[in-house]
C-alpha cells in the first residue's frame, strides 16, 4: 500500500491529488494567493481531509507547476509538462498529444506510449489565448469564466477577436459590447481565437489521435466543442481535467518512491 501526493501550484490555482495504489483517493482545488508555500500546504491538507488520511501516511509528495519549488515539504519536483503527459496517459492510455491550457500558458505535448514527453511547444508570446485571457474577457462581459461555457451555443455570427494582447482583447470585447453585439457571438469569437492559437501550437508537435485536453480551460465546454469542431477529431476530456498535472505529479512520486530521494 503506497499513498502518494501530487501538488500542482499553477499560476492561478493550486491542485492536489492523493493516489493510493494507483487509484485517486482524494483531491483539492483552490485559487493561489501570494503565499505559495502556505497554498501548497493547504492544498495537501484539504485533499487529506477529503480522503480522511493523515499527513504521515503519505510516502512521497511531488511538486509541479510554476510554484513547484514552493512545495518545500515535498521530495520531488517535475515540470507540469512532464506531469500532464503522465497524467493524461494515466487517464487515457492511448494519448499521443496533450493540449494543456492553464491560467498563464498553453502547451502542446507529444507523448510516447509510455507517457513520456517526446516533444512540446508552449505559447511564446504573452498570455493571449490562455485561461487568463478568458477570465479577463468574461469579466468584460460581466460574467464569471465558469458561466460562459455554454453561452456560445446559439451564436450565429461569431465576432473576430484579433487582438494578440489579453489586456487589449478586453477592450476589444468592451467595444463589441458597446456596439451592441450579442454576447453569444462575442464568446464564440473568443473561443475561436483560443482554439486557433492552440491549433497553431499543436502544429509544432504534430496533431495526431488521441488528443487529450487538460488544464483548467478544458472545463470550458464551449472551448472543448469549438476544438472538436475545428479538429474534426474526438478529444478526450476527463472530469478531472484540471487535476491532470497533479495526477502526473503523484504518479511521478509513485515511480520514484521505490528509490530513496536524492
Amino acid at each position: 500500500m503506497t499513498l502518494v501526493a501530487g501538488v500542482d501550484i499553477g499560476s492561478t490555482t493550486a491542485k492536489c491529488i492523493l493516489l493510493e495504489d494507483g487509484a485517486i483517493v482524494g483531491k483539492s482545488l483552490a485559487p493561489v494567493g501570494v503565499e505559495l508555500v502556505k497554498d501548497a500546504e493547504r492544498a495537501l491538507e484539504k485533499a487529506l481531509g477529503e480522503a480522511g488520511r493523515e499527513r504521515r501516511e503519505v510516502q512521497a509528495v511531488t511538486g509541479t507547476g510554476y510554484g513547484r519549488f514552493k512545495v518545500t515539504f515535498g521530495q520531488y519536483t517535475l515540470t507540469e509538462i512532464g506531469c500532464h503527459a503522465k497524467g493524461a496517459h494515466y487517464l487515457f492510455p492511448g494519448t499521443r498529444v496533450v493540449l494543456d491550457i492553464g491560467g498563464q500558458d498553453t502547451k502542446a505535448i507529444k507523448v510516447s506510449d509510455r507517457g513520456e514527453v517526446v516533444d512540446f511547444a508552449m505559447n511564446d508570446k504573452c498570455a493571449a489565448g490562455t485561461g487568463r485571457f478568458l477570465d479577463v474577457c468574461a469579466g468584460a462581459l460581466g460574467f464569471d469564466v465558469s458561466e460562459i461555457g455554454s453561452l456560445s451555443l446559439g451564436a450565429r455570427h461569431p465576432v473576430k477577436v484579433t487582438n494578440t494582447c489579453t489586456v487589449f482583447a478586453e477592450s476589444e470585447v468592451s467595444a463589441y459590447v458597446a456596439r451592441g453585439k450579442d454576447p453569444k457571438d462575442i464568446v464564440a469569437g473568443l473561443y475561436a481565437s483560443v482554439v486557433s492559437r492552440s491549433l497553431s501550437l499543436m502544429q509544432r508537435v504534430g496533431v495526431e489521435p488521441e488528443l487529450t485536453f487538460t488544464g483548467g480551460v478544458s472545463r470550458n465546454e464551449g472551448v472543448v466543442r469549438t476544438l472538436r469542431q475545428r479538429l474534426n477529431l474526438s478529444v478526450n476530456v476527463s472530469p478531472l481535467s484540471q487535476y491532470v498535472g497533479a495526477i502526473g505529479a503523484a504518479l511521478h512520486g509513485l515511480e520514484r518512491a521505490g528509490s530513496p530521494p536524492p
Binding site: 510554476y66 517535475l78 515540470t79 507540469e80 509538462i81 512532464g82 500558458d105 513520456e116 514527453v117 517526446v118 516533444d119 512540446f120 511547444a121 508552449m122 511564446d124 509544432r204 504534430g206 536524492p262
Partner: protein, 426 residues
Amino acid sequence: MESTSAKAPSFLSTAREQQRSMVEEYYAGLAQAGGAKRPVAYMLVGGNLTEIVRSFGYEVVFPEIVALNCAIKHVSLPNILHAESQGYGLDVCGYVKNDLGLQDLGGETPFGRIPPPDLLVCSFSGCYVYVKWWEALAEKYGCPLFMLDVPYMRDPEPQAEDRTYLIAQLKEFITLLERTTGRSFDLGELRRVLARSRRAEEGWVEYLDSGRGRPSPIEAYFEAVFYMFPINVLRGTEVAAEFYATVNAEVKERVRTGQYPVPEEKVRLVVEGVPPYPSYRTFWDFFRKWGAVSVAATYPKVGGLFDRGFLHDPGRPLESIADYSLGAYVNQSWPLRRKLIADYVKDFQADAVLIHGIKSCRSFTAGQGDLRDWLIHDLHVPTLYLESDHEDPRYFAPAQIKNRMDAFFESLGPRREPLVPPPGAP
C-alpha cells in the same frame, strides 16, 4: 535529475585574465582615439574589413560588441529606453537601440568612452539591419559611409561573379581610404596584418575543435563567447595572434587534470543563436544544473566560419577578404545553415540541440522554428527552442525559461541511450 552540485564555472584562469586585460586595454586605447592621427572606423562583425582598415592605421569600434558588453554589465536598458524615446520601437534590434541610445547619450560606458566615428564601414553581410543602423549613424555624424554589398550565400561555394563584385568594391574602398587618410595603400602591410589574423584564426579553430573531446574540455557557447573578443575585435593584431596559444595550453591542462567545465557531462549540446546577454549567468546556471555542456555552437562563428576551412590568406589578400565577407554565418542561406548544424551534431557527438531565438533579431531568428521542426521530425534530434533577447532585459522571463529547460532535460532523461547519428544532411 537535476544535479545539485552546480559549482561556479571553472575558467581558464590565465587566459581569462589575459582576455580581461586585452579588453581593458582596447577600451582604454579607444578612449584616446579619434581625429586625424588615430582615426576611428565603425565596423560590423559580420563580414568585416578589419584587416584593410587596420593597414591604414584606423582604430576599430564594433558597436555590436560594445552593445553586448553593455548588456552583460547590465547597463543596456537605459540606452535602449533612450532610443525608444527617440522613436525606435519595441521591435527594433536591441544592438541598434543600445548603440544609438548610447551615442546620443555621449558614448560613456563602464569600460570607457566610445569615440564617435570618422568612417563608417557597412559590411552588408547577412543582416539588413546593418544597412539601417549605419544609415542612422551616417545621418548623425555626417562622416563617409562605405557600403560593402556582400552577396548572400546560396551555394556552398562562392561564385565567380560574387568574388569579382566584392574585389571591385574592395578596390574602391581602398581608393576611398587613400583619399580620406592621405596615405597610400601598402600591400606589404596588409599581408602582414593578414598573417597575424591567420595565426589567431588557427588558434581559435584549435580551441573550438577541442569540443569534440568526451567529456568536452571547453564550453563552446558560454565560455567561447569570452574568447570571441580577440578573434572579432583584435584580429590582425599581435596580441590576438598570441592569445590562443595561452588558451589552448590551458585547455590541454584541463584534459590532463580532468578539470572539465561541466564536471559531470550528461548532455552534449549544439547551440544555435545569439545568447541572452542581460541574463547570461542565470541562463548558463540553468544548463549546468542539468550537466549540460555545449560542445559546438553557431554563434561564436558570426565573425567567420574559420572552423569550416576558411582562413585568411596573405598570399591572396583581396580574394581571401572577399571570401571572408561571403562566409559570415548569417550570410549563409537556411539550407547551408541547416547543414552546418547537422554536421556539428554529428561531428561533435551531440545529444541535443538548443536554439535560442532573439525577439528583436530577425536575421538570425526568422526560420529557427522551421529548423527546430527539421531537427526533430527529419533528423530525430531532440531540440529545445527558447526565446528572449540579446540586449533587452525586459524580455527575459526566468521562470518560463527555466520551466521549458527543465521539461526538456526531464524528457531527455529516460531516453539517454546513445543517439543515432543523424542520417546525413540533406
